[in-house]
């Protein structure tokens, strides 16, 4: 929490400094300052300011409707293809960074998830999240998003299989720090 506050503090400082810089640029007719605001910042800002709240509402709704714990119960050892599919779907519904996946993998491992499914889960968690896909489509277009998702999925599954092969006869354990 403290870290969050200090981060925000720096953010606000940068925003205020930029606002001052722009205001002074317009008053004194400093052309580069005006260009940075008009040609760059305002153009990006305009594009996002209406779109972003809508996307976040979509994310909030998804969060309310999809119950994570319910799905987690289905990823056990020997769950095969069904396990893979569920691992992918489970992770798709969530939003969050890579390191948010690790505590969940610990839970999955405790519940008996296979090595393959654990790493598929990490991969899918990071790359194919539904809220993020909405952002991706919005900013990079359908073609990019569809291609990236289609190519990433087999790569993730392959990595899961490779990890399982590599770690099969070794002691594998996930700790809870």
């Amino acid at each position: 929490m403290k870290k969050h506050l200090t981060n925000n503090w720096i953010n606000f400082l940068i925003i205020i400094a930029f606002a001052l810089f722009v205001a002074v640029s317009f008053r004194t007719g400093f052309a580069p300052g005006q260009a940075i605001f008009k040609d760059q910042f305002y153009r990006f800002f305009k594009e996002m300011i209406l779109f972003l709240p809508v996307m976040f509402i979509l994310i909030g709704l998804g969060d309310e409707w999809i119950n994570r714990e319910k799905v987690e119960r289905h990823i056990g050892k020997g769950s095969g293809l069904k396990g893979i599919v569920i691992a992918v779907f489970l992770s798709m519904a969530q939003a969050g960074p890579l390191y948010g996946a690790f505590p969940v993998t610990y839970l999955l491992w405790r519940k008996g998830a296979s090595i393959r499914n654990i790493f598929i889960y990490i991969g899918a968690f990071c790359t194919i999240k539904i809220p993020m896909i909405a952002f991706e489509i919005g900013f990079l277009g359908w073609k990019f998003s569809v291609l990236r998702t289609l190519f990433t999925l087999p790569v993730i599954i392959l990595i899961g299989i490779v990890m399982e092969k590599l770690l099969k006869n070794k002691s594998f354990e996930i700790k809870n720090p």
């Binding site: 925003i15 509402i57 690790f102 790359t127 909405a134 489509i137």
Partner: protein, 158 residues
């Protein structure tokens, strides 16, 4: 973006019909998330605005554009592996970069490494998986990201 907005509105309508209370909670949750992230988003916009103004467009196109070749992938992979930013910020940034001449395959490598490879979060990962497994995982995902970028490069020309 229009289609997405329409989808969001339809989802909102369906959610409202199904459960009013849940919908309300979802809307509040989403908007709170937006407000919490807004300062960070603004700062990224500011930094990118200044950076794009200072760095000449030709330079970006030369090193990260369509004909940049492997250099572009390399830069994207390094930045993506090290940088730590949520998708909410990464995608708007990627959109701006594409408009500034960065090629889609390079963006794909950046996005994929950003999401799957965590150099800065490695200490956290090691606590869960141990050093060896964490290093193997990151190496494999780095390779995977380059493969995805390469494939997108192949298909985007078509």
């Amino acid at each position: 973006m229009e289609i997405l907005t329409a989808i969001a509105l339809m989802a909102l309508m369906a959610s409202l019909l199904a459960d009013r209370k849940k919908t309300w909670k979802g809307i509040i949750k989403g908007l709170m998330m937006f407000l919490r992230l807004l300062p960070a988003i603004l700062v990224v916009l500011i930094l990118v605005s200044v950076l794009l103004f200072i760095v000449p467009n030709d330079l970006i196109v030369k090193y990260l554009g369509e004909n940049a070749g492997f250099t572009g992938y390399l830069v994207a992979a390094i930045v993506g592996s090290i940088a730590l930013m949520p998708g909410f910020i990464a995608y708007p940034l990627a959109g701006i970069l594409v408009h500034s001449g960065v090629s889609y395959p390079v963006i794909a490598v950046f996005i994929t490494t950003l999401m799957m490879v965590g150099v800065l979060t490695l200490p956290v990962e090691i606590k869960y998986f141990g050093t060896r497994i964490s290093l193997i995982r990151n190496a494999l995902f780095l390779a995977g990201a380059l493969i995805v970028g390469g494939l997108i490069g192949l298909f985007f020309v078509l």
